[in-house]
Structures are given as structure tokens and as C-alpha cells.
Amino acid sequence: MPVVAISARRLNELLGREYDMAELVDALEQLGTDVEDTAEQALYRCPACQAPNDKPMDEEPPKRCDFCGHAQEDPFERFASETVIRLDLLAARPDLFDVGGLSRALKGYLHLQAGLPEFTVQDGAIRVEVDPDLSNEESYRPFIACAAVTMPPLDHNSLREIMRLQENLHWGIGRDRKLASIGVYDLAAVQPPIRYTLIDPQTFGFCPLGMPGVQMTAARILQEHPKGIAYANLMQPYQRYPILLDAQSRVLSMPPIINSDETKCRLGTRRLFIDVTGISRDAVINSLNTLTSALAELGGQIENVEMHYPDRVQRTPDLTPRSIQIRYSEALKWLGIDCSPEEFVQTIRKMRLNVEHQQGDQYQVFYPPFRTDIRHEVDIFEDLAIGYGFGAIEPRLVPTMTIAQERPEERLSNLVRDAMIGLGFTEIMSLLLQSEERQFAKFRMQTDERTVIISNPKTIEQKTARTHMMTGILETLQKNRRKAVPQRLFELGNVIHVDPDAETGTREYRHLAFAIIGPEAGYAESRKILDAVMREINRRGTYAPDDHPAFCEGRCAQVNGPDGLWARLGEFHPQVLNNFGLSYPVVFAEMRLTNVI
């Protein structure tokens, strides 16, 4: 999960007060964010794009720019340091990804402002023409939404904040640029109208961000530019690539890969042009709404842009509030709190929402469009709970009495566990997922048809689920082979067998397995123990000779009895002992206790 570092100084500047670190951290935690820690960090300037890169104080200075990908031999030059609060990003709340969004929420929580934040969107004159071919399969990235924003002249801090937010929205909403990706440009370097169209990657070229004067074809950017290499897979299936061009055919960017160098934002830039393109309409709209609302918190004035699709014209962004109906009594019941209608309204407004009483129990709550997490009245109840404060809620128990019941096979397992410990066996636990080799080949067995097979394990060690308990026991003996013998150990656990008649295609059984290693370990000893366990849990079975490749011929038995009783015991074949690097005989028994599922 990405971590965002928020400058405490900058946060206080936006709040207009001097809160100390502990107050800020506490308020952020009570709002539901995940504060990792607070730290001192250093800022380094990228010589190519001028972007400030931050790093914790104790780490090496960067040699590669987080923003444009520029890399060099010498470390970047450090120009400042600052105290930051480090937060884990909350995927559900992209509106809390940056200092602007956090300050908006904190202003409510700290009683500096209340109610819905107002966003003024002026009608702008910029048009974007959308090429109908973008909806074709050969280039599919059909959705675009744009905005123009006038900001206080960009300085190092605001430049960095905007770039970080852009990256975080790529993660949080864009699914790493797949669903949506954002471009931000210096509007002074761009001449509208803008065209969103397609190019042939083999012939069309431009200078990518961080490489002024280096003209590269789109195809070469994908092979050579760091960002091109990182996101080339997104372009893989397509023959033509999307591009944003201005009236002079200057390149703004090639989404979702890289901006051009000539239209990039610089120190002092005042007017920003923003585009979001993607394959999900919702992700595109949400990204733009979240980004422009955050810029408004940083002092931006938003103008909308007219999107000319082949079949429609649409102005973006649309920051008018959305609304949802909620019930007062249901909210109080859901949270188990008691609060007056006045307090109810105030607490909701504290969470930067507006609320209007309709009639009786009904209230209408207005929320900003970037609150995409709101899809049910309970989402407002949660805001109410956060505003009310978890600490203000008195923990209680439900008065209902219930009688508990433990599961019979856990009870049985505990009886068996007690018996085994009494017999001097130590309990082990091992992993259920194993490679086929460890489960079968090492025991001279063919792969069992009843074995669960996993299609996508990271390593072959997790290819199958255990059908028997021998692997864990022998691997434990292997690990402890330098220690004194005899060793006596046991495991209680489930094995899984494929069964096409079962609901999920498998059945699970609770098995007991035990083993003794040592010069004296022999069949008679294991039979004694198995008999003792059966006696303790009142089971009886009939022993019969068994042929099993893992065991010595003539020294292996199967036990069968009423109620599905099954067990196998025997002395391991010397080849099996070799396979696990063991040099003493091992006697082993495995017994099915119950059918779990």
C-alpha cells in the first residue's frame, strides 16, 4: 500500500492554525486514516524536470526522478528538509490522498469549517475534440475528461503535491493507469482546441518528459524511456496509440505513458490544463473530480472544458453535490448512540456534508462528487460515527443470552491431543500447501487423482494441497536430525480430497499422524501407540497387511472399522528415509478421526 508523506508545516498553513504534531496525528487517526509515523525528510531537485524528490533523512540521495524518470550517475542536490506525517493511503477514500483533501476533512473535524465544501466551476472556452476511432478495438481508451485550473504560481511544494496526488490517484482509482490516467500541463504552452486522437507509434515521435531535445518515436519511448518500459504492457494489444495534440499539433501527452517535455508544468506555471483518459468512464470522472477538488483546496479556480464526442457534447468537471436519503432513527439504532436532531445535523456537517430535514425521520444528505464511497445510508452513518467520535460511544453488550457449542471434532481432537502428549509425543504443525514432489515423489508415490491443484501459485511449493500428513512429519524430523534420538512427535490437521459430488468439489478430513525416529523405532511400537489412542477414544478396528510404496514390504498395515475408522501404519522405506536425509528408522501412523466437511 503506497504511503504518502504530508508536510506538517503545509497542513497547518492550509488550516490557518498552528497545531502541534500530536494534535494533527490524533485528529487524522480519529478521521480513520492510517498514520504510519512521523519523520524528518529531505528534498532533492531533479536536474531534468526540476521536480522535488523526497527521501527519509537517513536514506541515500536519489539518482532517479520519481516524476519524469530521469536518471543519472551523481546523486541529486538536496535543497531543503521538512517534518512529515506518513500515511498509508486508503483505497476507499482518494479524497484523502493529499494535503488539500486532508486539510478539507480536518477543517471540519477541528471545527474550523462545517458543511459541504463549495466548488465554483466557471464555464471555460476550451474544447477537446475526441476522435471516434478511440472507441475501436485497435486502440481502446475511449473516455476523456478535462479541466483547466488557475493556481497561485507553482512553487516546489505545490508542484510536488500535484505530481504526488497524480501518482496516487493512478494507484487508487486508475489501477496503475489501466482504468484511468492523468496528465497535467502548462496551459500557457498549449494552444486550444485540443484533439484527442490516434497516432502510428512507428512513425510519430516527440520529446518525452525529462528529455528536452530528444525526439523519439512512440514505439521507441516504450522500449527506452523508463516510464515507457514500465507501462508498455498497457499498450501491448494495440496498433495505434492515443495522443493529445493542441491546435499547433504540439504533443501534450501520450496517455497513459508519458507527457511531452515542451508542455510540462514548471515553477511559476499558473494555468493548468488537466486531462484524464481511460477505459472506465467512472474511473475517469472520479479521478478528475478528485484532482480538481483537491486543487481548489490549494487555491485553484476551476474552469470546465467542453468535450466533443462524435455523438455528444459534455462539460467536465461537474462538481455539483450528489445526495442521498437517510433515516435519523435508523442511524441512531445502527450506531447505538443517543443524539438530538440538532447534534445529528451538526455532526454530519462536521464531516463536510450538508444535511436537510425532509419530513419525520427523513433527512437528505448532500455530498461532494468525489465521495465515491457513498452508496448506502450506512456510509453516512459511518461519517456520523466518526464525527461523533468512537471514544464518545459507551461500549456495551447485547442483553441476549446464548448457549455456546464447540464442534465435536475439535473436542475429539483435544482428547487425542491429550492422549498423545501423555504418551510423550510433542505436537508439531506444518503447512497444508506443498509441491507435488514433496507430497508424492519423495514417498515413491504417483500423484493422487484426489489431489487439489492450484493454477497460479507464485512457486511450485504451493502447487497442491496435502492429501496425507507424511510430509510435515518427515520434514520436521529432517529439520531436527542433528538432535538426540529417539524423537516422538505428532500432528493433528486436515487433509483435502477432491470429490466431484461435494459443493466446493472437495472434502476435508481431520487426521492424526505420529512418528518415532530412533534405532529402536519399529512397527510394534507404533501399533502399541495407535491401539492406545483408539482405546482412549473408544474406537476399534481390524488390522490387515497393506502394500504402500512409502513403507517397507511386510511392515505396513491398514486399519478399518465402524464409523469410517481408517488408519495406516508402518516403517518407512529406506529410500524414503534417504529422500529426507534421515539415518535412523522411522515408524509412522496416520489415522482419520472425522469427516470435517
Binding site: G32, D34, T402, A465, K483, R488
Partner: protein
């Protein structure tokens, strides 16, 4: 008046002292009685404490011939063999001498020069007068070593004078020649009975039989009355032994089960091999959610498809995802695909078990919990295992709400051994509100996040016909085990080191 008792061995030791006219050493007593050294020393100390005897110590320098010394002397030390070769010519070039295969030249030069037998002169060895005299006469160290070998290997340097051997010269010649002999300071302890001691030992002691153990015959025959059991030093440490015991992780599982059972929650189970429907869809996780990625979740090749519950239920879940259905939600707004719900996964959480229980019994009150293995598609490392234990509990009740959630959590964590806990708002996908629980770990002097909880979203509960709020919480038990046992490598939990299991105290 016979007030003192001695055991048989003590009696023998003191008898030896009584018979001696003068002081005698501990070694001498050992030699005379055949009783081993520690026992003799202990008896002497006892006698001294009783005032029966006086002791004194003498430091002497002991020469011990090495095992190789005898054969070396017999063959002649290297410098003596060189001396023999020099006798006739009186001068030999060193490189000629070096032709001699068994003559280590460094020893010849080092020790011959030290003895003053020859001088070095332009690459030659020249015999000296002292060297000439040495033909007839063995040197002091040679004689001392002969004597030591004859005596079984050792002698004291102070004994040499009596044999007309110059002890100083012996010391000079052997002190740096470890292959021949070693010199060591020795402290000898002597004891001499006092007058009082002589009297008491002669007239006032009784001898008793002392034994380590009584035999069955001693016990039944009454012979025990004549036997004194040897006194033990009961303060001595003993060897460590450990009982066979339950596995560390199992202890945590049992503690957790007990906590739930004591709070009136019944235990439930569900398959580890689970359908995507119960693992994800029933919990309102959209089908394109990153948690459902191949990156994070084990999908099964065999079995490849699971059966789904009744069509009516599947349809309600589908509509809830698409537009909220009858749950009051606007849903996720996408086309729900029944085939993705049929996919089979290794369950990613035990909430799959509790949601199944809710679907079976949607009417309040219900209180159930499940402890079981869950799986994540991770490679094994010190931080991550692809499988671990989790516990999930739900409470279905007309009085279920955020306040009763906090109260239930407080009791649950108290039973798990955490008296200091705090709650923090959080954002989990299928609870609203969501609560993160922090426990205060005394051992770490800090707050640790340990578990998530919340009130199930109506999109989760209503498709199954449950109309009351449902409280849900869960936590990973492996993490709890690591914190509690101070482990830094999660693999230590399952790559069982038997010593570690045996040595971990049950009360931990």
C-alpha cells in the same frame, strides 16, 4: 563418649593420618587408601573444620616428560647427534650437515648453541671445549628427563639437587622445549593431626555405613537402621528436562476458541477450498476488486468449479452488486458474471465461513465463530507465509450496533489477555462503520494494530434475508503468536524446531 560419626571411607582416611608420624599429602592418602581425590580433599576439609588437623600448602615446580621424550632420549636429541658427527672433524659446513635426512637443523643450532656446544662460523659449525666435554657427560636436562621417565613421567625440580643435577640449568633447557617436557607449578596440600584430633579420632568416633541409595533388601530387612544416607548438596542445579507439549500456535488457537466459547459463541466450520461466491461475492466485493486478482488469491485448477446456492439467492447477490437490489444501496454499477462466482479459490479469509453461517441462519440471535486456515498467494519469506490462521466471529442480534460491537470487542480482547485496547475508525470493504482494534503490548511498550471489525453492510446481510445489524470481527492468529512469543521470522512457527516447542513454557 563417642559423639562423632564417620562413614567407612572417612574412617579409612583418618586412620591413614593417625598412622603417619609426620604430615602427609593428599596424594599420599589417595595412594594409600585408593579413595578418589575429591573425597579425600572433602574429608581433610571436614577434619580441619572440626579442628582435628592442620593443613599447609607447598608450591613446587613439577617437570613432566612428554610421551615422546623417552624415544627422543634413546635416539639422542638432534644436537647430540650433530655433536657426534662433529667429534672427528671439529668443524662441519652446515649445508653438509643438512644433507643428513633425520637431523632437524633448526633444533640442532638452537639447542646446541644454547648449551654452548658449538659456535657458528661463516656457515660452519665449530666444536667448542664445552662441546668436547659433553661427549662423556649427559647434560642436566637429559639426566633429569631420564630420571622422570624412570619414575613414570614426573618429578619435582626441588628433588634434583639430591641427584646432583643443576635444577637451574634444567629449567633453562626445557622451559621452551614443549616437545620434550612441560614445567608446571603445583600446590601440594599436607595434613597433620592435632593432639586433640588424635585423641578424638582414637577414642570418640563411631563408624557408620553410608550409602547413596537403599536397596529393597535394606528397606524390608530393617538394615536401613544401620545405614546413613549420604547427604546431598540440595542447592545444586539439575539437568533441564521438558514435558512433551502442545504446539505454540495450537496454544493460541485453543486460547481463542476458549475466549469465544466462554462468551457464548458457537463454533462453526467451512471448507478451505471455497467458491469465489462465498469468499468474495457474498461479501459485496466487486468482481474487479484487486483482492480478487490472481496476484493475491490462489485459484484452483482442480476442482475448477463450485456449486452455487439456490438461484434465488444467487440472483439477489447479483442484483445487489449491479444496482443494490432491495438493499437500499446503489450497488457497484457493473454486469455481474455468474461464472466468476463459480471459480474455486483457497479461501482468503474465514469471513467466508461466517457469511455462510449467516446465510444458513439469518434470524437473530446468532453468535458464531470460526478458527481456520486462510491463504494468500505469497512466496514464503520471513514476513509472509502463503497460509495462516485466522479467526472470525459474528453476532446477529436486534441490539447489534456500533456500541455493542465495541463492548463485545472489549470483552473478547480482555479474554485474549489484552486489558488495554483502543478503537480507531477504518475503511474495510464490507463493514460500515469499520473499526480497527489496537492492543497495548507491555513487552513492546506500544500500541499494536490487531484485528479489524465492523457492522456488516446491508448489501452483505440483506440478500440472505437478515434484517438486523450483524457485528463481525476477525484477526490473524499467526501475527498474534509472533507478538506473544517475540518471533521475528514467521517461518519459525511451522518449521518446527522441537527444542523450541519443548522449551517454551506452557504459561507463556
Amino acid at each position: 563418649m563417642k559423639s562423632q560419626t564417620l562413614n567407612e571411607e572417612q574412617w579409612q582416611i583418618f586412620q591413614t593420618l593417625l598412622q603417619a608420624s609426620d604430615r602427609i599429602s593428599v596424594q599420599q592418602i589417595v595412594a594409600a587408601t585408593g579413595i578418589d581425590h575429591p573425597k579425600v580433599s572433602a574429608a581433610i576439609q571436614y577434619g580441619e573444620e572440626q579442628g582435628w588437623l592442620a593443613t599447609d600448602e607447598q608450591s613446587r615446580e613439577e617437570l613432566t616428560a612428554t610421551a615422546a621424550a623417552a624415544s627422543q632420549l634413546q635416539a639422542g636429541l638432534p644436537e647430540r647427534r650433530a655433536l657426534a658427527l662433529l667429534a672427528e672433524p671439529g668443524r662441519i659446513a652446515m649445508r653438509d650437515l643438512a644433507q643428513n635426512p633425520n637431523l632437524p637443523m633448526s633444533d640442532v643450532i638452537k639447542w646446541g648453541s644454547l648449551r654452548g656446544w658449538f659456535d657458528k662460523d661463516k656457515g660452519d659449525l665449530v666444536l667448542t671445549d664445552q662441546g668436547r666435554r659433553a661427549f662423556e657427560q649427559p647434560d642436566a636436562d637429559e639426566r633429569a628427563l631420564e630420571l622422570a621417565v624412570a619414575r613414570g613421567g614426573t618429578l619435582f625440580l626441588d628433588e634434583l639437587a639430591a641427584n646432583h643435577i643443576d635444577a637451574e640449568r634444567v629449567r633453562l633447557l626445557v622451559q621452551n622445549r614443549g616437545d620434550l617436557a612441560k614445567l608446571k607449578p603445583r600446590t601440594l596440600r599436607f595434613a597433620c593431626l592435632t593432639e586433640n584430633g588424635r585423641r578424638i579420632l582414637t577414642h570418640e568416633v563411631t563408624v557408620v555405613k553410608e550409602r547413596n541409595m537403599l536397596t529393597p533388601e535394606d528397606i524390608t530387612s530393617g538394615e536401613w537402621q544401620n545405614i546413613r544416607l549420604r547427604r546431598y548438596d540440595v542447592t545444586l542445579a539439575s539437568e533441564n528436562v521438558y514435558p512433551a507439549k502442545i504446539h505454540l500456535m495450537q496454544k493460541i488457537i485453543q486460547l481463542t476458541r476458549k475466549a469465544f466459547l466462554e462468551m457464548g459463541f458457537s463454533e462453526i466450520v467451512s471448507p478451505m477450498v471455497e467458491s469465489a461466491f462465498w469468499d468474495f461475492d457474498a461479501l459485496f466485493q466487486p468482481q474487479d476488486h484487486p483482492a480478487r486478482d490472481m496476484q493475491d488469491t490462489f485459484y484452483l485448477q482442480r476442482p475448477a468449479q463450485a456449486q452455487l446456492p439456490a438461484d434465488e439467492i444467487v440472483d439477489r447477490v447479483k442484483r445487489t452488486h449491479e444496482n443494490g437490489g432491495e438493499t437500499g444501496s446503489r450497488g457497484w454499477g457493473y454486469r455481474w458474471n455468474v461464472n466468476r462466482a463459480r471459480q474455486v479459490v483457497m479461501r482468503t479469509h474465514t469471513t467466508a465461513c461466517t457469511i455462510r453461517a449467516l446465510a444458513r441462519n439469518p434470524q437473530p440471535p446468532q453468535k458464531v465463530f470460526c478458527v481456520g486456515k486462510v491463504f494468500r498467494n505469497e512466496a514464503i519469506s520471513y514476513k509472509h507465509l502463503p497460509e495462516f490462521f485466522q479467526v472470525d466471529g459474528i453476532l446477529v442480534d436486534k441490539d447489534a450496533n456500533l456500541a455493542t460491537l465495541l463492548g463485545t470487542l472489549k470483552e473478547f480482547y480482555r479474554k485474549m489477555g489484552f486489558n488495554k485496547i483502543k478503537f480507531k475508525p477504518a475503511f474495510f470493504p464490507y463493514t460500515e462503520p469499520s473499526v480497527e482494534v489496537f492492543v497495548y503490548m507491555e513487552s513492546k511498550q506500544s500500541w499494536i494494530e490487531l484485528g479489524g471489525s465492523g457492522v456488516f453492510r446491508p448489501e452483505v446481510t440483506r440478500p440472505f434475508g437478515c434484517q438486523v445489524p450483524v457485528l463481525a470481527w476477525g484477526l490473524g492468529l499467526d501475527r498474534l503468536a509472533m507478538l506473544r512469543y517475540g518471533l521475528h521470522d514467521i517461518r519459525e512457527l511451522y518449521w518446527s524446531d522441537l527444542d523450541r516447542i519443548m522449551e517454551a513454557p506452557l504459561c507463556q
